[in-house]
Amino acid sequence: MSTVKGEMIKGNEAIAEAAIRAGARFYAGYPITPSSEIMEYMSWRLKEVGGAFVQAESEIAGINMIIGSAACGVRSITASSGPGISLKQEGMTTLSDEELPAVVVNVVRYGNGIGTLLSAQCDYHRETRGGGNGDYRCIVLCPASVQEAADLTVEAFDLAEKYRMVSVLMTEGALGQMMEPCVLPEMQAPKRFEWGFDGKYTNKKIGIFDRDSMKEAVALNAKYNKVKETEQRWEAQHIEDADYVFVAYGMPGRATIGAVEQLRAEGHKVGYIRPITAWPFPEKAFEQVNPDVKGYISIEANATGQLVDDIALTVMRQGKKKGSDCSGGSCPAPVYCNPHVYGVPSTKAIMEDYAKVLSGEMKEVY
């Protein structure tokens, strides 16, 4: 595959090639639209670089294969969408339990159950809260362009290994199918982590019945707190003097930037925060927002509004930090939300949302 600077490439393929260049040498999964290009790409590309590829009998088997290869210290990646990611939850909680790093790509498609083929952001809660049993978190990265998808793929591996966690690249159907110019990352030598199985019992391990869950829980919590403290990523603009701040990620985030630029040009004091990590949520971004901000507007592609919950929690905490008791008219700013259900909202639709907030037609969620 020729990789001329800034060559046009499909989002899904950029992720696959970036993973190879990051040193990933194992893929296992089961096809599902709109993620299948990643698997198809890996089927020939891994062979080329001496890696292993398995077309698994199901997503459950696929993620369990990822567990096996990750346990051997190999950079491992799988991708899916909708109900396929549902089936991966068993393995994701197990990876988290074993503190094995892996990258799971969720090319989000709309709908409950078997769902649809429409691009969406309906899996926000599942990815940021963890859909498997227990009490774990995954690092969740949300690209807004093909370039960012490629860059975040490399970062997803680095973060997964730094913290021995699962990284979820939460992209969207539209981004997976879209072609854009992209500078692919440098080719890295494949890594073999020294903690992996070698058959010699180099790394001692205890059995499940001898574990100290209390001690483990404390350590896990400390680890997650460290991730929250150090790994928040976001893009923001015009927030210091904004009356209204839009919050949106991924493709709707990108559309929101366009709307904000246009509204600014028309003289409206609006800004935006585009979370790049959905978990940890970029709370720090909110610290830079105008203290007299009149409201936050969440733009999402799902049915019920999910991101809005994290915005509200953050705004509430910030309010508390300031010592506000809501008595002097300085209680946390209201949080509005327009869940656009699926697809990518247009600049015009987002500007209309803003007008509805100003007119009072759109009521606050929090």
Partner: protein
């Protein structure tokens, strides 16, 4: 029967008969808490002995199933992953793919391998993955209190078939080795053993060894199912459980080799 029951190797008692001192393989030299009379302890010991005799006890990775197999987690002194219930076939697929020079073993119960994990177990065999599966078939879910499994005998009383297994609504006991041997041409070695008698134990050991040899020479997938006692959930004494294996279980699950190695004399690397 705990696998490490006999750890006293340097006995000072002088015996007239020439009894070879029984050394516990280093791989399993830690206590395991199987019930008295349980077949699991015998089976893991046979596997450990074979690995030692093949010089592979320092070159092995286990995927351990969920069930009484889980007790191996604290007992084995080797690389091992406690796989989610039924998924050892998938986990071991990947381990062997990325670590082809290690001996990779999935150790699973009948419920783990043939009920919840039937997809993963069959698919690994179907793809002819180069690892070895050992299935401890005790005709029930031992760990969770003796519920019916896919290998529960017709009429067998379990906690979920209190009137005895009715095969008209629950299916007939599944014979996986026969399935592999008859359908998956590429499989390298398929056998079923039993722990019911010393003779059967010895024979089972040869099956285990051949299965591991098939893996070592890269011939393909190998599986040995071992009929095993579960006196606790069968409500039997240990000796009665062994008799039950021979008299009631074995007639439905014939012992022997269903697929022998194509090239047994091949040099083992």
């Amino acid at each position: 029967m705990a696998a490490n029951a006999n750890t006293n190797t340097n006995t000072s008692v002088k015996t007239k008969v020439n009894i070879k001192p029984r050394k516990v393989p280093a791989l399993i030299d830690r206590p395991m808490s199987f019930c008295p009379g349980c077949g699991h302890g015998i089976i893991i010991r046979l596997i450990a002995e074979c690995l030692e005799e093949l010089g592979q006890d320092d070159n092995v990775i286990f995927g351990i199933g969920v069930g009484c197999s889980s007790l191996l987690g604290g007992g084995l002194e080797t690389d091992r992953l406690h796989c989610s219930h039924g998924r050892a076939g998938a986990v071991c697929t990947a381990i062997k793919r990325v670590n082809p020079d290690n001996v990779v073993i999935s150790y699973q119960g009948d419920g783990d391998a043939y009920s919840i994990g039937i997809g993963e177990t069959t698919s690994a065999a179907y793809r002819n993955e180069r690892f070895t599966t050992f299935v401890v078939n005790n005709t029930n879910y031992g760990m969770t209190g003796g519920q019916m499994s896919n290998t529960t005998m017709p009429g067998q009383k379990t906690t979920t078939s209190p009137d005895g297994r009715d095969c008209t609504t629950t299916g007939m006991p599944l014979r996986f080795p026969e399935l592999v041997a008859s359908q998956f041409d590429a499989a390298a070695y398929v056998a079923r053993g039993s722990v019911s008698t010393p003779a059967n134990i010895n024979k089972t050991k040869t099956y285990i060894k051949k299965a591991l040899e098939a893996q070592l020479s890269g011939e393909g997938y190998s599986v040995v199912e071992i009929l095993s006692s579960c006196p606790t959930n069968w409500g039997m004494t240990a000796p009665d459980a062994m008799k039950h294996l021979d008299q009631a279980v074995t007639p439905h699950f014939p012992l022997g080799e269903f697929k022998t190695r194509a090239n047994e004399q091949r040099e083992v690397k």
